[in-house]
Symmetry: C2
Subunit: 304 residues, 2 copies
């Protein structure tokens, strides 16, 4: 089924304790779309870039089945740019530079062909823009998934709540779930967030896996313990892409299909951190993904 | 099969954001023995208390099948006492008072009947005492499990390493695994710890579950997301007690039996935090434990 993806397409400069790269390909929508492209070939991307964004990167996305009719290319404009430095533990990072550039005036206009999309993935972006996209959909998608972060809780609380009200699934990390709900217990946090709108709450816990809450049930997904995390940038977006990509490919929405989607999303994220940028995501194939997914199932399986 | 348990039997005063108790029953060996008593009725306790320790608490342990021949009761002495206050998130705490009392001169002497014990659980205690107990065993136990903490890494590094060398399983939390190994990645940390002695490494991650490393395999056990944690004191000891208790009850040592033991240990710990002290641990029965264990299996089960 068709999948509409919204988010940034951008450049990143990243410094980890072991290496450094300058102006590599980044952006939530880039990671989401690459990740989802292993599960569905009917992806409709909504984003904005400047004239500086490499045509070959757009061609690479097209060749993966990503429709770029919804990508605005601003003549003479510069693409969104983010630069960050990871701390020794790779769990926290400092933002060094954020240049909104063309993103500052982004008013997404959905092509007609997008408006009947079956699945909608709202990547991390201002909640106003996420809402604008929801409102342009002519038929209600089978599932609207929203990724967001603490930054929007700090600077755009009201519009964040308006957007959350319209989505079926929200994906956030544990600290963000606590901030959004005012509850420390993740069980209570998820209960509170359900009342804000989302039927399903996905709490991403990084190296500790993820939790899915919904329909009165809980699913705890493991993370794959890794010997090395090369670069965590984009892991959350890649998770979201694998999650919604899997669901779009299957076409079914239920607690059980969401459980599986979380495993696929987690597997994709575990690849993402193995290289800078979308390096690893470009090199995957179905066999590699299946093998990785099998590992996730194996490490958490226990029969009593 | 018989299980020898070593550790403190003590009094605790505990303050959480919601409540406060004074001089309740505590101690690693108390939690371990209560927890293990639901899986085996052949427990041989090694510890020390003062004359102030209530006889009815000792009777309660005896009635659970806990042999107290190895419990030294010091005439006129005072039992070990610990007092602590939990922070709002219940994940961290401050120690307010530590009175070693009779523990300061503890030189465990194992009764003859203990020296052929099948399983040995070394609860958190000075590594010197843990080692003394290992050395008094006349036949090598089927499995020696050691619980320890960062404190001993700070003040007793050399004797800690000497003890670790002699054990089959070590249970520590993630930060302690990092401190002990000097490795941030838990995969690398476990690899390093294997080289120190333990064939199996159990990493306790509190609300994030636990990891088991051994035989080149990894098992990721979920935690049960809880709406309320009333008092986390003793949760790690209770985990250890359920873990070794299950193994002693089954009598089999393999990666697969250790996986199951981790689930049983986690289930017992999830009960422990529901009340102060050993309050909840005294009220359990097999049906409650089986139901709880089923929940652990259910929340992590996924079939692709």
């Amino acid at each position: 089924m068709s999948l509409v993806t919204v988010g940034t397409v951008a450049f990143d400069s990243i410094e980890t304790p072991k290496a450094k790269v300058d102006r590599v390909i980044g952006g939530a929508c880039t990671y989401i779309s690459w990740s989802a492209s292993y599960f569905t070939d009917d992806i409709k991307l909504v984003s904005i870039v400047g004239e500086d964004f490499p045509q070959e990167e757009l061609n690479a996305l097209s060749s993966r089945g990503v429709d770029l009719a919804g990508l605005e290319i601003v003549e003479g404009g510069k693409s969104f740019y983010w630069s960050g430095r990871y701390h020794d533990n790779m769990n926290s990072r400092d933002t060094l530079v954020t240049e909104l550039n063309v993103l500052a005036d982004f008013n997404p206009v959905l092509p007609e062909s997008y408006k009947g999309g079956d699945f909608l993935m709202l990547g991390n972006l201002t909640p106003e823009i996420q809402l604008q996209v929801i409102e342009q959909m002519e038929t209600k998608p089978k599932l609207v998934v929203m990724d967001t972060m603490n930054f929007w809780m700090d600077v755009a609380w009201d519009s964040l709540l308006k957007t959350i009200e319209k989505v079926d699934v929200i994906t956030i990390n544990d600290e963000e779930a606590r901030q959004l709900s005012g509850e420390h217990s993740l069980v209570k946090a998820a209960e509170k967030i359900h009342t804000l709108g989302p039927k399903y709450v996905v709490i991403k816990k990084g190296e500790h896996g993820a939790l899915l809450f919904g329909e009165g049930r809980i699913f705890s997904a493991p993370a794959l313990p890794l010997a090395e995390v090369y670069d965590p940038t984009g892991a959350g977006d890649t998770f979201a892409g694998g999650f919604i990509g899997y669901l779009s490919g299957q076409g079914e929405v239920s607690f059980d299909s969401l459980k599986k989607a979380i495993i696929y999303g987690s597997a994709m994220a575990s690849f993402c951190v193995e290289e800078f940028s979308i390096g690893k995501l470009k090199k995957l194939n179905q066999e590699m993904i299946n093998e990785r997914v099998k590992k996730f199932v194996e490490i958490s399986r226990v029969d009593l």
